[in-house]
Amino acid sequence: MAFTDEQLERYSRQILLKEVGGAGQKKIAAAKVFLIGAGGLGSPSALYLASAGVGTLGIIDDDVVDLSNLQRQILHSTKTINHSKVESAEETISKMNPDVKVNKYTGRLNSENILDIIKDYDFILDGSDNFPTRFLVNDACFFLKKTLISGSIFRFEGQLTTLRPHNVENGPVPCYRCLYPEPPPPGLVPSCQEAGVLGVLAGTIGIMQAAEALKEILGIGESLAGRLLIYDALDMSFRRVRVPKNPNCHLCGPKPTIHELLDYEISCTMPSPG
């Protein structure tokens, strides 16, 4: 595959990087990245991955654009309110970089469809807003040996980690269940619509997910696998804490008890007062 002059110019500032070059740009063009959610985290991830020239972006979302999304979901605009998020996402991405192939999936991931949907992608970025999806995605990525870059935001704080328990070249590294064995019971944590968040935080974390993805594609730098990055926008502080593999993990441990995908109940309800 050769680049056109237009492509060389578009990507020149990263081809100039010694760690990228023409060979790296080809890897980026050949990469297939799957984004879970075209929301706060998926928006900046998608835009920067697309601008970097990632050849194929798969995006799943079952929602339509709502006015209240626009404070942080920068793939969408006032013009696309009430449009399907994946349609709106594709429109924005192709306007910015027509080189990128966008595969759209409308609907929700579940134990029946997830393996088939993500099996052809190299890297998965989780930007979902609920625990059942996070556990489902983690388990599916574990079974398929896919590298998962997980981001989450809440109020003024964001978290980021890379999960690739199948890759032990630098020693054992955890899966999501090593950090959080089970989803919290529905109603215990505010999720989805109830949680407040500083919109710009979605940008910070989503862009760092994209940065991790590009490093994985290029095979450069030090991966965040085995570490959790915690960002506090109020203090403007980053903490990087070690997260070891749980030797008794029910999924990735030596004596697993989870052998198939599970559907947990999705709940967006806050605990009822009293």
Partner: protein, 82 residues
Amino acid sequence: MSEDAKADVKLDLSGVMCPMNFVKTKLQLEEMDEGQILEVIIDEGEPVRNVPRSVKAEGHKVLELEEVPDGHYRLVIEKADV
């Protein structure tokens, strides 16, 4: 080195601005083997100040840089193992 150094590949990058002239030089070098010689023609001014420096920064060897007619420069590079 003689006037007509035996270049394995020649690239005419006259009229090509920074940084595209270096991008094209770099991509050509990526395709070549260690020890092979690349000759590029670049413009005077910014290109002749920047391209040789960037080539050296990537670890390659600049064998020759000489002015040729029409305000161009001939840059001869030996590809290093990088």
